[in-house]
């Protein structure tokens, strides 16, 4: 790879990060924050071309970035809880796959249109155990904002999302854990997989 090409790529990456987020105090340099920037950039892009792409197109566009940015396997494992160890490898795989599919389908279903939203990364807070919380806001055209915080954990060389906090306090993982817990108790792992698959189906069959 030529030096010019590398330099160009670096400049482009930095430029993109600056364009997407409004970093303060050099947050764009933070690796966890950059991951979120990258995610938001692709989401924005998907929203802008939402109608063009259609549901299937959006799903295909979002699947790779979501799988890379979210640690969906760990989230699924955490949502199931300690009974995870009692499940067969096959069941575990099915749960992770079904959960991944449903998550991507949810995003594909929602990010279908662009109405002038802006994503802003406001802060990255280091946690004592080495995790990071990346605080972001979605700013709508009417000025109203919604806070979304991402709990990021290092997974090998990369930072991945372990949990999302709406309003800073509503944890997605906690909600999922409550949901999964109720279903596992009444119907076991197979019931969980079925429900996850069915929900995914419903989303993917929805309006384009």
């Amino acid at each position: 790879m030529s030096r010019t090409l590398i330099t160009t790529c670096l400049i482009a990456a930095v430029g993109l990060a600056l364009f997407v987020s409004a970093p303060t105090r050099g947050e764009s340099a933070d690796p966890a924050a950059s991951r979120i920037s990258g995610l938001y950039e692709i989401l924005l892009n998907t929203m802008q071309r939402g109608r063009q792409l259609g549901l299937k197109g959006r799903y295909e566009k979002l699947a790779p970035v979501l799988s890379k940015t979210y640690d969906l396997a760990s989230m699924a494992r955490m949502a199931v809880g300690p009974s995870w160890n009692g499940l067969s490898a096959q069941q575990q795989l099915e749960i992770v796959n079904a959960f991944t599919r449903m998550t991507v389908a949810t995003y594909a279903s929602r990010y279908d249109d662009f109405s002038g939203e802006r994503f802003e990364i406001s802060q990255t807070v280091d946690q004592p155990n080495g995790d990071k919380i990346v605080k972001t806001r979605i700013i709508q055209t009417n000025g109203k904002t919604v806070a979304l915080n991402y709990l990021m954990r290092r997974s090998g060389a990369e930072w991945k999302i372990m949990d999302v906090y709406l309003d800073g306090v509503i944890s997605e993982l906690a909600s999922r854990r409550s949901e999964f817990g109720a279903i596992l108790k009444s119907g076991g792992a197979d019931a969980l997989v079925n429900l996850l698959m069915r929900q995914g189906d419903k989303l993917l069959a929805g309006r384009s």
Partner: protein
């Protein structure tokens, strides 16, 4: 006599509009999955630093600490009923309201209704010995009523006097009613036994103040759109995004809503407890117990085992 009826009607309309505003969704702009509520990037955002991160799934207890729901069967039926009711009645009206009434007008109506509720917030903040919050509330009320022209404009927020929490259910929590059972009330929506008592007490307390009719109706509207503020999240759910989409991304919608409203409410309660003078007073009395640390305990997220508390300042 006729004049009174007219003004009552007017105030009722305002109160209802205020409640509807809580239900009205925005222009349906795209939101992330399970995106729920709150237009206020408020003090609760700071609580995120205290939210527990799941460290390892092995350390999580088998039974999610979660919500106490002994009335689950009944609650689920009421929940289903409410969903049908909202879909057929409330959402279409809220949608029409959103589409016909311009946004600045809707904002003003909401500010007006909210301003009328500030005296109740103040009273509860005082009862909780949260004097900073009480002072801020007074400042808000004065500023919004004068500069904000009778509460139509929330100018106080721009001066960094943000809306404070303060309802009787929260007061009861600060006073010691910690655990409560989840309850889904017809039409009003999710709440819990303690908060329902709180709302009822507030409503009842306003009855003697018949001359403060506007505040009375504000309390009523608050009760409708707040109902142990768990429901405020619920009604605001449609404010920003699609209830339908939340439902689509849930495998058990009843549990999803329960988890969401409970988490939000817990955060509000913890914040009140942390900043309450009662907590500080009880810390002065006790000497060594770690549980009496003046530092706010990390907010236990439903299902997560709380971390050991940080070092107490009392060594």
């Amino acid at each position: 006599m006729r004049k009174t009826t007219l003004s009552v009607l007017r105030v009722t309309a305002i109160g209802l509009a205020g409640a509807l505003e809580g239900c009205a969704s925005s222009d349906g702009s795209v939101q992330p999955p399970q995106l729920l509520a709150s237009q206020t990037v408020a003090t609760l955002e700071n609580a995120s630093a205290a939210v527990q991160a799941p460290t390892d799934f092995m350390s999580l207890s088998d039974e999610p600490k979660g919500t106490r729901d002994p009335f689950e069967t009944g609650n689920r039926s009421v929940f289903e009923f409410n969903q049908r009711f909202y879909r057929t009645t409330i959402y279409p009206v809220a949608k029409a309201y959103r589409e016909t009434v311009p946004e600045p007008v809707r904002d003003s109506i909401e500010s007006f209704a909210s301003n009328l509720g500030e005296p109740l917030v103040f009273a509860n903040d005082v009862l909780q010995l949260r004097f900073d919050a009480a002072a801020t509330t007074v400042g808000r009320f004065v500023m919004n009523s004068t500069v904000g022209i009778g509460g139509l404009f929330d100018v106080a927020s721009k001066q960094n006097l943000l809306r404070q929490s303060g309802d009787f259910g929260q007061t009861l929590h600060v006073w010691g009613v910690r655990d409560s059972n989840y309850l889904v009330v017809p039409i009003i929506g999710p709440t819990n036994t303690r908060d329902l008592i709180g709302t009822t007490v507030e409503f009842g307390a306003m009855i003697p103040f018949g001359w403060m009719l506007p505040t009375h109706f504000a309390a009523g509207a608050r009760g409708l759109s707040v109902a142990g503020p768990t429901a405020s999240t619920f009604s605001k759910l449609d404010k920003v995004g699609d209830m339908e989409t939340l439902e689509d991304s849930s495998i058990d919608f009843y549990i999803m809503v329960q988890s969401v409203v409970t988490q939000k409410r817990e955060a509000e309660l913890k914040e009140a407890l942390a900043t309450s003078g009662w907590t500080a007073l009880s810390n002065v009395k006790t000497t060594e117990s770690a549980s009496s640390s003046p530092f706010p305990k990390p907010v236990p997220v439903a299902g997560m085992k709380p971390r050991p508390t940080p070092e107490s300042s009392m060594q």
